[in-house]
């Protein structure tokens, strides 16, 4: 396997869970993309330091944690406070996600499951979700066009996300076991 193929494989297998890791840590998608890139950059730069007898995922998560800490140190704007215990828990949760992403086609399966789950949302909820994610409208804009309050929009979205998480997980379990 040449270096380019190896690099691409590493990026493909790990970028999705890394993105979620940094979004969970920062709440900011643009910053998270940069942090994902930085993590890969450091991994590639230090590839010769990786011990093949150890877990690659754990090594990458260690880099991600340091990248996050460095980002937090440089940021002047406020980030949610993650203490060491929270970072340990995040690492644990990310380890599970990282392991799932080692299964070939896991990313596609999640997306396919989500598409199915979106079909099961009520018409009203589906409209709110579509406006938020397809048209990228903020809650206030959705609220004014649908004649409801912004708080109600947030509530609908929150319930929709939760229902989708449950639905996607159920479908993925069915796929694995059934």
């Amino acid at each position: 396997m040449n270096h380019d193929v190896w690099t691409r494989a590493i990026v493909e297998q790990n970028q999705r869970w890394l993105m979620a890791y940094f979004v969970a840590a920062t709440g900011n998608h643009a910053e998270s993309e940069d942090l994902v890139q930085e993590t890969f950059a450091q991994a590639l730069k230090n590839a010769d330091r990786f011990d093949p007898s150890k877990s690659f995922g754990a090594w990458l998560r260690g880099i991600a944690r340091n990248v996050y800490l460095e980002h937090r140190r440089k940021s002047s704007h406020r980030l949610v406070a993650l203490n060491d215990a929270a970072l340990d828990h995040l690492d644990l949760a990310a380890a599970a996600s990282e392991e799932m992403h080692t299964v070939p086609g896991y990313g596609e399966s999640r997306i396919d499951a989500l598409k199915d789950c979106l079909e099961s949302l009520s018409e009203r909820t589906a409209e709110v979700v579509k406006r938020r994610y397809l048209k990228n409208q903020p809650s206030k804009a959705i609220a004014s066009s649908l004649g409801i309050t912004a708080m109600a929009v947030d509530l609908v979205l929150s319930r929709a996300r939760k229902a989708l998480v449950v639905c996607v997980n159920r479908k993925l379990r069915t796929e694995v076991h059934g």
Partner: protein, 445 residues
């Protein structure tokens, strides 16, 4: 754990959390650090929703990648290389470039640029609130511009870098204005534009050494030291067209790096060949002016020519160009320094020939955004004709050289093409002409 924080976590992973939300979440995490696993679950579904609806940034590279469908840009023929190009090529290896991505965000909220004009409306997203974008508005770090299809926003930076966000296409353009701190640099920050969708074109002034302007998309990052370029995002492909100078593009799926020179384009997607190729010319503009002109295509300057006083034969220049699908606009600033004034031009697109005539629009006033594609020129006048190269008419003394002998183009100007000392406004005239690409099937002009 109770579900009472779902709302908060949902807002947080969507990027909508307020300062109060962050404070509340921080308190919750202090008491129950294990709740962070719910952040991750929410972030995963957020990521997947953005992928399904295509609003993201974070598209999985494991999925199929449609070929780029939106090429097109302009190429300045024979553009001279600039002295700062050497600086661009000297920029270090991939890792160094990548390391430049850590945001400092130290100046969040500070003014980074200025909206000179908006065409057909756009929205400003600041601190989670979206409001109509007005011309003459400062752009702050962290601001996002949402520009609907067939609209554009002209943005000026203090260093004279000019940017057009949006296009005539059918895609919405979303651009985030930011800054970054280069590694090992204590001498300030660099500009960073995150293009989430759509198209941006820019004429970038030479940037400070070690602090290139970065244009990032979900697929690639362009490092710009100073040049004219266009970046477009469609589906899961990013296309970079370099009009002049040199831009370093890095593909994020495998960190491959390529230098794209003036007149070349490169598509960054999973499967596309990552080698720069020449932008095929799709049109040709032949132009000259008594006595000087600046030529713009779709808001981007292609070139200029100044003839000295007393010139009688005006050499025509030829520009090979790429075109936008749909409407394209040629805009010209014409100037006259003595005697008779006149502009003559022909636009060749395949077999179609668009020529200067009374259907060209003209004005004596330089208005904001006058050269942009969708600028409304309905209040401008029709140009006046002063004879073709074959037929003399009164007030037409100029002769063009190297201009197609069989052209039906007329010398045009405003209704007064005589130099009038003291009446400066008569000496400069602004022209516009729009046409479709590809041209309609009818072959008549």
């Amino acid at each position: 754990m109770a579900d009472e924080y779902d709302d908060l976590i949902g807002r947080y992973v969507h990027g909508d959390a307020t300062q109060e939300d962050l404070a509340e979440l921080s308190r919750v995490l202090e008491r129950n650090p294990e709740i962070i696993s719910r952040f991750l679950a929410a972030a995963e579904i957020e990521r997947d929703l953005r992928e399904v609806y295509g609003t993201v940034a974070t598209k999985s590279v494991t999925r199929s990648v449609p070929a780029a469908r939106k090429p097109r840009s302009v190429r300045r023929p024979g553009a001279p290389s600039n002295s700062w190009i050497g600086t661009a090529t000297a920029v270090a290896a991939v890792i160094v470039i990548v390391a430049a991505f850590v945001l400092s965000a130290r100046g969040q909220g500070a003014v980074i640029a200025h909206v000179a004009a908006t065409v057909n409306g756009a929205m400003l997203i600041r601190d989670g609130d979206e409001s109509p974008l007005q011309s003459d508005t400062d752009v702050h770090i962290g601001d996002k511009l949402r520009v609907p299809a067939r609209a554009a926003v002209l943005v000026d930076f203090p260093d004279r870098t000019k940017m057009t966000v949006g296009s005539t296409g059918n895609d919405e353009t979303i651009a985030l204005f930011d800054e970054y701190s280069p590694p090992n640099s204590s001498s300030g920050t660099g500009k960073k534009i995150r293009l989430e969708s759509g198209v941006m074109t820019a004429e970038v002034s030479p940037q400070p050494k070690g602090r290139p302007m970065l244009v990032t998309t979900s697929r690639a990052t362009a490092e710009v030291v100073g040049t004219q370029l266009k970046v477009s995002v469609e589906n899961e492909a990013t296309r970079l067209d370099v009009l002049e100078g040199k831009v370093r593009l890095r593909r994020l799926s495998d960190f491959a790096v390529a230098d794209v020179k003036g007149g070349e384009f490169l598509v960054a997607s999973k499967d596309a060949d990552f080698s720069p190729r020449a932008i095929p010319p799709e049109g040709r503009i032949i132009i000259t002016c008594d006595d000087r002109y600046e030529l713009f295509l779709n808001g981007v300057k292609l070139g200029q020519r100044d003839f000295p006083k007393g010139t009688w034969f005006f050499d025509a220049q030829t520009y090979d160009v790429g075109l936008l699908k749909g409407k394209n606009t040629v805009a010209i600033r014409g100037g006259n320094i003595d005697n008779i004034a006149g502009l003559i031009a022909e636009i060749q697109v395949g077999n179609k020939r668009y020529v200067t005539g009374k259907d060209w629009r003209c004005s004596h006033n330089e208005e904001l955004g006058w050269s942009a594609i969708n600028f409304n020129d309905s209040h401008w006048s029709n140009a006046a004709e002063y004879g073709t190269e074959r037929n003399e008419r009164p007030k037409k003394h100029a002769k063009a050289a190297r201009f197609p002998m069989d052209s039906d183009a007329s010398w045009i100007w405003s209704d007064n093409n005589m130099f009038a000392p003291g009446r400066d406004s008569e000496n400069t005239v602004f022209f516009r002409f729009s046409f479709d690409f590809p041209p309609p099937l009818s072959s008549s002009h």
